[in-house]
């Protein structure tokens, strides 16, 4: 019989090991799945995990895909630490892209070093505006932020669709739902020549460092962590709860907005309906998988970006559905939650029974002694 037994205290080894275990279990399930589908499992695994990054071009593309996921996830790590469930990174990302695009389209003919920063700031403000609404509703009206942020994802998507079909549509674009191309001054500069790696990756890494400093070295970060662990204790210590809710949500919304504007001014170069293949949702998994820690999140973002590329590669060379990525994302999160039980419990193969004969030998030894 397998039995779960409380450890009594959290095992920090298991806390680090559990994401690795979850990734391995997902891979193992993938092997079984490929075999059942009649695909050579080893070939499939190589196609998904190695082929996309087997050359410099691939590694560059990995960075391009990592940047938005990383930005969203690092922001989510702050709100999740505060036990605020912001599921709205996707909508905040879309709003960032939309706001940034609006400004960029006003400035297509304008030259100057200041154009790009203005566009980026507009994107950040777009994301903050969207998460700020959720914060206002939570603080002022006590609404459940899970439901409001989810609903606002759908609203943001519809506003984006309305914009590209209506006011922001390129008048010379043959009626395609796309904006005009942005001017050169509104585009993120390329970091590494001959690749698509743009300045957004540097911004993402900068954000990781900044959030790490905030959470581990600042009083604000400390207050957020305390509020997440025990809201009552935070209140008794005189921490301003409402201000912290605003701060955490605005920060994560702003970073998601930056991710969105980084996509439209980086690899895309115009506003289109498909800014994101669900980066905002993937970032939730990344935040959990990375244990809400900056280094963990960086690693998990790279894995998630690889999963996106691997899914595309599997579609091209093995004819598997593109939805493979989403399936693996879901499995990964499930296995993680299941493995996390090992942080607080240990597995015993046999229930420990008190042997019925135990008093007798001790008695015997006493009489002998």
């Amino acid at each position: 019989m397998i039995k779960l037994e409380p450890r009594g205290e959290r095992s920090s080894t298991m806390a680090y090991l559990s994401p690795v275990l979850a990734a391995l279990l997902t891979m193992f399930t993938g092997l079984i799945l490929f075999t059942l589908l009649g695909v050579d499992p080893i070939e499939a695994l190589i196609t998904i995990l190695y082929v996309p990054v087997s050359d410099t071009h691939g590694i560059a593309e990995l960075c391009v895909k990592t940047a938005p996921i990383l930005l969203c996830a690092i922001g989510l790590s702050v709100v999740f630490k505060a036990k605020i469930w912001n599921i709205g990174a996707e909508g905040q990302l879309l709003m960032g892209g939309l706001f940034g695009s609006y400004i960029a389209l006003q400035l297509t003919e304008t030259e100057g070093f200041w154009v790009l920063p203005v566009v980026l700031i507009a994107g950040v403000l777009g994301g903050m505006f969207w998460s700020g609404i959720a914060a206002l509703l939570k603080v002022r009206f006590n609404t459940n932020e899970i439901l409001t942020t989810i609903m606002m994802n759908y609203i943001a998507l519809n506003i984006l669709l309305w914009a590209v079909h209506g006011p922001l549509k390129d008048p010379e674009g043959f009626n395609f739902p796309e904006s005009a191309l942005f001017g050169d001054s509104a585009l993120l500069p390329i970091l590494i020549e001959d690749t698509r790696v743009h300045f957004g990756m540097a911004l993402a890494l900068l954000a990781v460092v900044a959030v790490w400093v905030l959470m581990s070295r600042s009083f604000y970060g400390f207050q957020i962590k305390v509020m997440g662990m025990d809201a009552g204790a935070a209140r008794l210590s005189g921490f301003k709860e409402k201000r912290l809710v605003y701060f955490a949500l605005l920060l994560s919304g702003g970073l998601a907005g930056l991710a969105g504007v980084g996509e439209v001014t980086g690899p895309i170069g115009q506003l289109i309906p498909q800014i994101s293949p669900g980066y905002g949702y993937a970032a939730i998994i990344v935040a959990f998988l990375g244990r809400l820690h900056p280094v963990g999140i960086l690693l998990a973002s790279l894995l998630m970006a690889l999963l996106y590329m691997g899914g595309e590669m599997a579609q091209i060379s093995l004819g598997l559905p593109l939805a493979l990525t989403g399936l693996f994302q879901g499995m990964l999160l499930f296995y993680l939650l299941a493995c996390d039980v090992l942080i607080t419990f240990r597995i015993r193969l046999k229930p420990r029974k008190v042997p019925p004969s135990s008093p007798l030998p001790s008695l015997a030894s006493e009489t002998q002694g």
Binding site: T143, T148, M151, M152, I155, W162, G326, L327, M331, F334
Partner: protein, 308 residues
């Protein structure tokens, strides 16, 4: 506005509200037992895709609906196992269920996108269908809509007047007290989770077999989430779930109303109305903190550990 338009709007309102009603009734029972399952969207999608594929391959709508419910139940059992046996966080597990269901349904259904099937036909009840205005609305629908009326009655009676319903509520209010007087907390919660799964599967099946008889990725379009908000809107009361589901049905077909009145508004802006309505309703209902704390099941979302 003429009588015909009103009749059609009322008819479409009920039809659109039906999947919301079914999934929200399932979630209501689930939450009454103290379990918050945020995976409705994922379970609905699995119900939709499985029901569609089964009907396409077998030609039987009945079999499609049954297996859609089975798919929903299997999904809910994953949730049950992880939250009950492994005491994982219900919020995170529910989210995972939705992400997993979205991915799995898209994966399974990728070869079936856009294929046509014969959808469920309406069944007209003689004489009553011809009643002015409400005839089509209440008596000119398909069988699943009639089933949703029965389901509502059953859930209403179960929660308010039956002994097992009392046990359900006791477990949801205070599982430790319920356990102390010998009520089966785990069994009750499992059954509630399974019922929620079956209803989500049925609602998903309704979308892909009757409402729009085809399969498309993510075709539930947030209905599972709206249903979760509906339960809050309803203050955990079955009769208000019914009212709310039909009102949201109306919000989702407002474009018909606008067309009828001769307004031209962007379809994308109208498409966001149900979601906007959800936010507005949540704001109105949650603003009184004391009240929202009193109407929700006390132990909602809290795991129960006292087994063995």
């Amino acid at each position: 506005m003429d009588i015909d338009l009103i009749t059609n709007i009322l008819y479409a309102m009920i039809r659109t509200g039906t999947p919301l009603l079914i999934v929200a009734l399932g979630e209501l029972v689930c939450e009454k037992s103290g379990v918050l399952n945020l995976g409705q969207e994922g379970m609905m999608l699995m119900g939709a895709v499985v029901g569609f594929i089964v009907t396409l391959l077998s030609g039987s709508l009945l079999l499609g609906f049954i297996l859609a419910m089975v798919a929903g139940v299997l999904m809910s059992l994953i949730f049950g196992l992880i939250t009950m046996e492994l005491s994982a966080n219900q919020v995170a597990t529910g989210l995972a269920l939705t992400i997993f269901g979205t991915g799995l349904s898209a994966f399974v259904g990728s070869e079936f996108v856009g294929k046509p099937i014969e959808g469920l036909d309406p069944v007209f009840i003689p004489v009553l269908t011809d009643l002015p205005i409400i005839g089509r609305m209440l008596f000119g629908q398909d069988l699943v809509v009639y089933l949703s009326f029965i389901l509502f009655g059953a859930v209403y009676w179960f929660i308010n007047y039956s002994r097992p319903g009392l046990i359900l509520k006791a477990v949801g209010e205070n599982p430790h007290a319920a356990n102390a007087i010998g009520l089966p907390v785990f069994k009750t919660r499992y059954l509630a989770i399974i019922f929620g799964g079956a209803m989500a599967g049925l609602a998903g099946g309704y979308l892909s077999l009757a409402y729009t008889p085809l399969w498309a990725e993510n075709m539930t379009a947030g209905r599972g989430w709206i249903a979760l908000a509906l339960v809050v809107f309803a203050s955990w009361k079955a009769e208000r779930v019914l009212l709310g589901a039909w009102l949201f049905g109306l919000a989702s077909i407002l474009h018909l109303v606008f067309q009828g009145l001769g307004f031209s508004v962007s379809p994308n802006l109208l498409a966001m109305l149900p979601y906007l309505a959800t936010v507005v309703v949540l704001v109105i209902l949650s603003s009184n903190q004391t009240r929202s704390r009193l109407v929700a099941p006390m132990s909602l979302g809290n795991p129960f550990h006292a087994r063995g």
